[in-house]
Amino acid sequence: MENHIEIEKSHHLIIVHFYGEIDSVMAPVYRGQLSDLIDETQEDLVFDFQNTSFIDSSGIGLVLGRYNQLKFEHRTLILTGLNQVAYRLFELTGLFQIMPYYESIESLKEGTL
């Protein structure tokens, strides 16, 4: 699968779907794209990893960086759809103590409707 992101607007949220792998090559690319997106919008953000086959610590850095960028503007970052291994690593890093997590986009949408 080609690595890319797709952006969807839904229920006053902006959902970013990550496809493929997030590693040291892709993280800086997404960092630029998402920083611009955050600058150009006011909504809260969702990062959806349902279609992400691989995330390493550069992905964790990417998430933390965007969290800090949003927090500065009192906006929220929500995470969904991590695979089991990535979930363990995000948990280890303490990310779930500072941002909400939903198993899937569907469970998030049900929760916020």
Binding site: D23, S24, F54, S57, G61, A86, L89
Partner: protein
């Protein structure tokens, strides 16, 4: 016993090659999807450390990966001949990073320690760094 060795230029684009190669070599052991992702993550963290911190992304330099499979026990060695680590205890601490501006989380070694059974680090200044990672795959008949 089955063994392999591969070396490649210290550029980040080769991380994918390294992950995929290690995963392919494990295939005869019929690992679970999670085990494959765990190995790929370990390789990714170790190789990006070697490329970024060992070599400062100098493409003239080489990262060497060796694998040894004995039964279901896997030993993975990731080695560079770069600048070495000054203080091993310091770099092993979670969130330790020298590249905050690049948004490196400083979690690489902590992640490897979490996913592997054992991590040994040998490092000598200006000689290089060697990570020796051991991890056994589960027996399917006990799953």
């Amino acid at each position: 016993m089955n063994q392999m060795e591969v070396s490649f230029s210290a550029i980040l684009d080769n991380e994918n090659f390294a992950r995929t190669t290690v995963a392919a070599f494990l295939t005869p052991l019929n690992p679970t999807i999670d085990e494959v992702i765990e190995f790929k993550t370990i390789v990714s963290e170790a190789v990006s450390n070697a490329i970024i911190h060992g070599y400062n992304q100098n493409s003239e330099c080489f990262v060497v990966i060796k694998m040894k499979i004995d039964g279901r026990a896997v030993q993975l060695t990731v080695q560079d001949y770069g600048k070495g680590i000054e203080n091993l205890e310091e770099v092993k601490a979670p969130f330790y990073t020298t590249a905050k501006d690049l948004e490196h989380a400083g979690m690489g070694l902590t992640i490897i320690e979490t996913l592997a059974d054992r991590l040994e680090i040998e490092s000598v200044i200006n000689i290089g760094t060697k990570l020796i990672i051991t991890k056994s795959l589960k027996n399917h008949d006990t799953v």
